[in-house]
C-alpha cells in the first residue's frame, strides 16, 4: 500500500511479545505494518490494550525488560530494532523523539526548565551562554516566554509543562516525533492548544509526526492518515477524512458510533458489547470477532491480513464486501436525536446556597476552592457540573457527600441540613446516607481489592437495611447488567467497565435518590464508555434517579444531563438547559470550553506564540 519506495519510517511485520519464564511468549502486538513520511502526521488510534504505547516505545528501543520486539523498523534505511545498544542514544532525540503523556512526571522536578532543554541540544561545543540563548529560542518556539527557563517544573501548569517537554523532545531536531497521548492528561482548553502547537511545529519543521491517541476525534482533527489498532493488530488504515466518512471495519464503525456526539443528544449510544480482550487470546482469529455483530465462521478461520482497498486504504475485515452496505445503513440509522427532558417542576431535592470552601485556610497556600456556589437539583433531574481541574467541582461533590465540610453556606439534601455531617442526629445521618450516593472516577480504586464483589454489595445492602425488600446482590448485579456469578469475583478479575458497574450497583444498594458521579466514564475506553452512559440513562428511566454529573467532557454532558452549571475558579459562571448552554453559550469561559472540543474538523495550525492565558503560579 506504499506509494513511494522510501519512507522516513517503514515498519514491517513488527511483533511485540512478553517473554515468559521457560522461553514461552505472550503476544502483545503482531504483524504490524506502518510507514510515515517527512511532513506527514500519522495517527495510531487504539483503546487500552491495543499495544499502541508499546509500539511507540519499541521504535525508540525503550521497551520494558522482558518485552521483545521483532520484525523490521527501518528509519531512513537503518533497522532500528537491530541497532547496537551504543548507537541507540545518539539515534534517540536526534532522529526520533518521544513526547510522553503525563506532563507531571515527564520533567525532572529538581532541574530548572532551561537545562532540561539544553540537555537535548546536539551542537557540542556551545558555550553556556549560547546554550542558554538556544534554549530560550526553543521555549519561544513552543510559545513560552524567556523567564520559564529559570522556573522549576512544579511552578508551571500542566499545559506549560507539556510545552517545555515538547521543547525538550525537539531539542535534538528529530526528523520524526512520536507523541503518546500528548493531550489526554490536560484540561480541554489546554488540549486543543497543545494539538494546535504540535501541528504547527510539525508543519514548520517539516518533520514526521506520529500521534498516538485513544480519541478518534483528536486523530481526525490532527492526522493525515490513521492506523486503527485493536488488541495488538491493525484493523484498518486510511486517510483521516476517508475513515471518518466511510469506515471499512466494524471496529472503526463501532468506535465512531460509541463516541458521544457533542452537538446533539441521542436516545442511546450504539455501544460495542464486551471489553477489549488481551491480545494473546484473539491473535489467531479476527481480533474483533468476539465483539462483532457481523461475525461468521470465516472470521475465526485465521488471523486476517490487511487487504488494500482503494488508494491508501486497507482493512482487515474479511467480510467487508458483504457487510459494507449494512455498515453504512447502521451509521445512518442511529442519528435519530432525542429530546432533553422538559424542565422539571418537582420539588428541590438538593439545594446548595452560597457554599464556600478554602483549603489551607490561614496559610500562605490558602486556596479558595469554592467562592459562594449556589445550585438546585430537583427530584428526578439530571444536572451537569462542568469545569476544568481546579474549578472546584470535585470539592462541591465532596461537600455534598460529607467527605468535606464547607466553611460557610448551606447544603440541604432531601430536607436535611447537610452542611455539617458531623453534627447530624443518627436518624438524619442515616436518611442522608441513603439519599445521596457516589460513583467515583477511577474504577481501579473504587472497589476494595481485598473484597469480593458480593461482599461489597452485601455490606452496602446491610448498611441500608434493605435486605428484606427483596433487593439482593444478584438483583443489584442484574440491574447494572452483570451476571449474578460476578458476586464471587474479586475486583482484579474485572475490566474497568465492569468495575464501574459494580461501583454503580454498590451505590444503588442503599436505594438513593441522587447519584453524585465524579467523572464516572472518563477513564474508560470509548467503547465501554458508551455502555456505561447507556446504563446511566436506563437507570434514570427505571428508578427515577437524580444525577449530579461532574465532568469536563461536554459530549457526555450533552447525552445525560438536563441542566448544566459551568464552574470556573470556584464560581458558577453560567447555567441553563443543556441545549441552550452548549448551543448558545453566553459566558466567555463557556465559549472557550466549547470551542476547544475537537470536532473532527482539521486543526488549524496556530502561530507558535501561545494565546494561553495561564499565569505562572
Amino acid at each position: 500500500m506504499s506509494g513511494s519506495a522510501f519512507h522516513l519510517l517503514d515498519v514491517s511485520d513488527l511483533s511485540i511479545d512478553v517473554v515468559l519464564p521457560g522461553g514461552r511468549t505472550r503476544s502483545i502486538v503482531s504483524g504490524l505494518n506502518l510507514h510515515v513520511d517527512l511532513g506527514e502526521t500519522v495517527g495510531i488510534v487504539g483503546e487500552s490494550g491495543s499495544g499502541k504505547s508499546l509500539t511507540a516505545r519499541s521504535l525508540l528501543r525503550l521497551l520494558p525488560r522482558g518485552v521483545r520486539a521483532t520484525g523490521r523498523a527501518e528509519f531512513a534505511g537503518t533497522d532500528v530494532l537491530d541497532l547496537p545498544e551504543r548507537h541507540v542514544a545518539r539515534y534517540r532525540g536526534s532522529r526520533l523523539a518521544l513526547l510522553f503523556q503525563d506532563p507531571f512526571t515527564i520533567l525532572n522536578p529538581v532541574l530548572r526548565c532551561g537545562p532540561q532543554i539544553e540537555e537535548g541540544l546536539r551542537d557540542e561545543g556551545l558555550s553556556r551562554r549560547q546554550k542558554r540563548k538556544e534554549s530560550v529560542r526553543r521555549l519561544a518556539e513552543v510559545g513560552l516566554p524567556e523567564h520559564i527557563a529559570d522556573r522549576y517544573p512544579f511552578q508551571l501548569s500542566g499545559g506549560m509543562r507539556q510545552r517545555v517537554a515538547l521543547a525538550a523532545a525537539l531539542a535534538g531536531n528529530p526528523e520524526l516525533l512520536i507523541a503518546d497521548e500528548p493531550s489526554t492528561a490536560l484540561d480541554v482548553t489546554t488540549q486543543a492548544e497543545i494539538l494546535r502547537l504540535l501541528k504547527s511545529l510539525q508543519e514548520a519543521r517539516g518533520m514526521g509526526l506520529i500521534l498516538i491517541t485513544h480519541d478518534l476525534r483528536v486523530a481526525f482533527s490532527a492526522c493525515d492518515r490513521i492506523y486503527v489498532l485493536y488488541a495488538g493488530g491493525l484493523m484498518e488504515v486510511g486517510g483521516a477524512r476517508d475513515l471518518e466518512d466511510h469506515p471499512l471495519h466494524p471496529y472503526t464503525l463501532g468506535l465512531l458510533l460509541s463516541e458521544p456526539p457533542v452537538d446533539r443528544r441521542l436516545s442511546a449510544l450504539v455501544a460495542i458489547p464486551g471489553a477489549v480482550p488481551p491480545a494473546d487470546e484473539v491473535s489467531g482469529v479476527c481480533r474483533f470477532s468476539p465483539r462483532c455483530r457481523w461475525v461468521r465462521d470465516v472470521c475465526r478461520a485465521g488471523p486476517p491480513r490487511l487487504v488494500p482497498r482503494g488508494p491508501g486504504r486497507a482493512t482487515a475485515c474479511v467480510r467487508i464486501d458483504e457487510i459494507d452496505v449494512e455498515m453504512v445503513a447502521l451509521r445512518r440509522a442511529v442519528v435519530a436525536p432525542a429530546a432533553v427532558k422538559e424542565p422539571s417542576e418537582a420539588a428541590a431535592l438538593v439545594r446548595v446556597s452560597d457554599v464556600a470552601k478554602v483549603f489551607d485556610k490561614g496559610t500562605p497556600r490558602a486556596n479558595p476552592a469554592l467562592k459562594g456556589v449556589s445550585l438546585t437539583i430537583r427530584d428526578g433531574e439530571s444536572i451537569g457540573l462542568v469545569g476544568e481541574s481546579g474549578s472546584g467541582k470535585t470539592t462541591l461533590a465532596r461537600c455534598l457527600l460529607g467527605l468535606e465540610q464547607p466553611d460557610s453556606g448551606e447544603l440541604r439534601i432531601a430536607g436535611i441540613d447537610a452542611s455539617r455531617y458531623d453534627r447530624l442526629r443518627t436518624g438524619d445521618l442515616q436518611r442522608l446516607r441513603r439519599a445521596v450516593q457516589v460513583v467515583f472516577q477511577d474504577p481501579y480504586s473504587s472497589l476494595n481489592p481485598a473484597h469480593r464483589v458480593g461482599f461489597a454489595l452485601e455490606e452496602a445492602l446491610r448498611m441500608a437495611g434493605r435486605r428484606d425488600d427483596g433487593v439482593t446482590v444478584a438483583s443489584l448485579l442484574d440491574q447494572v447488567g452483570l451476571p449474578a456469578a460476578y458476586a464471587k469475583r474479586r475486583p482484579v478479575a474485572l475490566s474497568g467497565g465492569e468495575r464501574q458497574r459494580v461501583a454503580i450497583a454498590r451505590a444503588l444498594a442503599v436505594g438513593p435518590r441522587i447519584l453524585v458521579c465524579d467523572e464516572p466514564v472518563s477513564s474508560l475506553d470509548v467503547s465501554v464508555q458508551a455502555q456505561v452512559l447507556n446504563l446511566f440513562g436506563a437507570l434514570r428511566t427505571e428508578l427515577g434517579l437524580s444525577y449530579l454529573f461532574i465532568t469536563h467532557d461536554l459530549a457526555v454532558v450533552r447525552q445525560v444531563v438536563d441542566r448544566v452549571y459551568v464552574l470556573y475558579r470556584g464560581e458558577i459562571v453560567e447555567q441553563g438547559p443543556v441545549d441552550r448552554v452548549l448551543d448558545a453559550p453566553e459566558h466567555e469561559y463557556t465559549k472557550r470550553l466549547i470551542a476547544s472540543v475537537p470536532s473532527g474538523e482539521p486543526v488549524v495550525a496556530s502561530p507558535s506564540v501561545a494565546s494561553e492565558a495561564e499565569a505562572v503560579s
Binding site: P21, V276, L403, L429, R434, S445, L447, N448, P449, H451
Partner: protein
C-alpha cells in the same frame, strides 16, 4: 490514560512470575530451615541424641567425631544436642517479639493513620521519642539492672520494636484513607471501626505479615546478642547466643562449638526474611495490598 493501566499490570506480572519459579528454590530451603527449627523447638528433648546439659569433664572439648557429630564444649556437653535444645529460645522469644511488637504497632498505626488528629500526633511523638533512644543499649541497661532474664528481654524488645512497626502500619493506613473505596464506604455509612478493620486492615495486612517475619529475624539477632552479653537466659541454658559466648574459649580446639550456633542464628534469620518477602509477593498478587 487507560492504556497504561491495562498494559502495565500485565507487564508487572512477568518478573513476578519468573521470580516465583526461579525464586522458589530459596523459599523452599528457607521453609525447610524453619521447619527444622520448629520441630527441634517442639520435640527438643526427644530428638536430641544426648542430654544437652550432661557434662562430661573427662571428655573435655573435642572436635567432631563419631560420638559427637559437632564435638563438645569445654564442659564436655554435646554441641549438637545443645543446638537442638537451643531452638526453643531461638523460636519462642523472637516470635513473641515479632507478634507483640506488630500487634502494638498495628493498633497504634491504624488508629493514628486512619483517625489522624490529636491522637495521631500523640502516637507519633511517642514514636519519635522511642526512635531517639539507643534501643539495644536501653535493653542492656534495663535487663542488666532490673534483671528478669529472658522474658524481661523479650518484653523490652517488644516495646522497642513497636515504634518502627507503628510507623510502617501508619504509612499504609494513611495511603488507604483517601482511596475511593474507603470514601465510598464512608458514604455508605459504614461505621468507622468497621472501615478500619474490614476495609483498611486487609489491605495493610501484607505489609504487616512481611514485617512480622522481618521483626522475627531482628528479634532473634537482638535476643542472641543480649544472650551473648550474658543478659537474658541464665548461664548454662542451651541458647544459641549464649553458646556463641561460652564456646569462644574453645575456638581453637573445637571451632564448630561456636561457629555452629552462629550459623544457626544466621540461617534462621535469613530464612524468616525470605519467607516474609515471599508471602508479601503472594499477598500482593492475590489482589490485596495492590
Amino acid at each position: 490514560m487507560a492504556e497504561g493501566q491495562v498494559a502495565v499490570p500485565t507487564l508487572a506480572t512477568e518478573p513476578r512470575q519468573r521470580g516465583r519459579l526461579a525464586g522458589f528454590i530459596p523459599v523452599a530451603i528457607a521453609l525447610v530451615i524453619i521447619g527444622v527449627v520448629v520441630v527441634a523447638a517442639a520435640l527438643g528433648d526427644l530428638i536430641a541424641p544426648r542430654d544437652p546439659n550432661a557434662q562430661n569433664l573427662l571428655v573435655g572439648d573435642v572436635p567432631p567425631n563419631g560420638q559427637f557429630p559437632l564435638g563438645t564444649d569445654q564442659l564436655g556437653r554435646d554441641v549438637l544436642s545443645r543446638i537442638i535444645a537451643g531452638a526453643r529460645t531461638a523460636l519462642v522469644g523472637p516470635m513473641l517479639i515479632a507478634v507483640g511488637g506488630m500487634t502494638i504497632g498495628t493498633i497504634l498505626g491504624m488508629l493514628g493513620g486512619y483517625l489522624g488528629g490529636r491522637l495521631d500526633a500523640i502516637i507519633m511523638r511517642w514514636v519519635d521519642l522511642m526512635y531517639s533512644l539507643p534501643g539495644l543499649l536501653i535493653a542492656i541497661v534495663i535487663v542488666g539492672v532490673v534483671g528478669g532474664g529472658y522474658f524481661m528481654a523479650v518484653i523490652v524488645l517488644i516495646v522497642l520494636f513497636s515504634p518502627a512497626d507503628t510507623r510502617i502500619v501508619r504509612a499504609e493506613a494513611l495511603r488507604q484513607r483517601p482511596l475511593p473505596y474507603i470514601e465510598a464506604a464512608r458514604t455508605l455509612g459504614v461505621p468507622t471501626w468497621r472501615i478500619m478493620f474490614v476495609h483498611v486492615l486487609p489491605n495493610v495486612l501484607p505489609v504487616v505479615v512481611s514485617y512480622v517475619f522481618l521483626d522475627f529475624a531482628f528479634g532473634l539477632v537482638s535476643l542472641s546478642g543480649l544472650s551473648f552479653l550474658g543478659l537474658g537466659v541464665p548461664p548454662g541454658t542451651p541458647d544459641w547466643g549464649r553458646m556463641l559466648f561460652e564456646n569462644r574459649t574453645v575456638l581453637f580446639t573445637n571451632p564448630l562449638a561456636a561457629v555452629a550456633p552462629g550459623l544457626m542464628i544466621v540461617a534462621a534469620a535469613a530464612a524468616m526474611n525470605i519467607v516474609g518477602d515471599w508471602l508479601y509477593e503472594r499477598f500482593a498478587s492475590s489482589g490485596a495490598g495492590r
